[in-house]
């Protein structure tokens, strides 16, 4: 009955990121829906790694919130470093100055459900 398995390498990594746009009052030319958000991530990857290198990194936008332009991304563990570096080095999207902020990174989606660092005790 008793069974124990230890999985040392998780298949995916998950990131909670948000896109900060300079001067939010002057909005982007398009409304940033999840499709455009995904496009922004892909653009960041191709800019750093080229068309082929960028296309090899498969990213899933699991959840997207248009209000604060935050999202939960899923990426294969071996591509995590590539994605993270591409997001960090992004400085503009659609010729607007912007930056991706990485809030949380975890090998488990469950890890993004709670952030004990940002929780306000009341």
């Amino acid at each position: 009955m008793y069974e124990r398995r230890v999985i040392t390498k998780s298949e995916f990594h998950y990131m909670r990121v948000s896109l900060d746009v300079q001067n939010p009052a002057k909005a982007l030319p398009v409304e940033l829906t999840n499709v455009y958000f995904k496009q922004a991530v892909t653009a960041a990857l191709t800019r750093l790694f080229g068309d082929i290198g960028g296309a090899m990194v498969a990213v899933d936008v699991l959840k997207y919130n248009e209000g604060d332009r935050s999202a939960i991304l899923r990426v294969h563990s071996h591509n995590l470093v590539k994605l993270w570096s591409a997001l960090t080095l992004t400085d503009r999207y659609m010729s607007r100055k912007c930056a991706f902020r990485v809030h949380q990174v975890s090998p488990y989606l469950m890890g993004l459900a709670v952030n004990s660092r940002e929780y306000e005790h009341t």
Binding site: E3, G111, A113, S116
Partner: protein, 359 residues
Amino acid sequence: MAAPLNFNSPKNLLVFEQSSFSNEKSRHKTVIGDHYFNCAVEVCSPNVAQIPTTVTASLSPSSYYIVRNLPLSRLIDKEFIEAFVRNGAFYAVSLNTRIDVANSVAVLPTGKLVLSVDKDMYETLGLEGRRSIFSQTRERKFVIEVELTKPSFTPGKKNYERTKWCFSERLNLRFDFVFTWVPHDKSICSSSVGKYFSGMGLSVSSCRAQMMSNTMKDVCVPDLLALNILENSQDLFEWLGAVSCYIDSEEEASNDFVSMYTTPSPCNICTQLTHAKWQGFFTPEAIAMVIDEIRLYLKTPDHPPWASVTVHGYADSPVSWRGKEHGYHQGGENIYTYIVFPNDNYWLYMAVGSHDVCP
């Protein structure tokens, strides 16, 4: 042609266990009891309109306290040790101290004071410790442990006086703590620690766990009985995470360009899936009570097929399970999830990040 770039992500550990509460060798009591600092509890169950009130009742009244600028020398006062550390389980962990960049302190219910300090602090403080197992090559972090309940740790003894001198005269270390106390003697009120600290002129505030509840209608829920769990344990854990993060797979999956995520198959459409989350500071006793209530609830008529209880540990606590060292690195996650079935069987996930030992 250049060699392909190969970047490895840090290692992590996901332990899956399958056992039964009725199994006498089952370790569920130690898994819960040895995980001291819990910041969130989540309960999830299909086919129920709301989380049973017995579960809510066992979590909600647990109030805890926050004390601001508590000098560490107050924690080693003989009076304090005799009154609280010896006569109950005192849980305290420093607040707003990021363990990867700063110093972090915790008092374990076993009567051990654990400090995870950086190199500068270690060299200045003057208390003997050991190097952190996660910074062996670059010595950046050190762990100092002080046994508060040892009979020799008493005024007049060399070790006690040295510790006292280090905490009061050497460096006047002050931290914000979130703490709670479970007395052995049930007739004593657990708020007396708060009174003791506020009597010293420290600012103590009482806090309560916050609850968030969410019911999803007509969602795709994996059929746990038909699932080959040993093969798909990672997929199920991912799905549980998706529920906790309120990811609506139906909506997001509508567009293949955005996301390729799908609910693990085989899955059924359930009329409703209820998920509740409490955040705050929970003792292992409270968690054990929740598990017991869930087990009782699953034995009532028209019970749901299963229920899951997920417990998140503090990412910045210096210890995780059994007082073993814990670090942050990427996310500092120390999470465990019980999936409980009506026949007393359970599936247990224990997930830790790269700076943690195997639970």
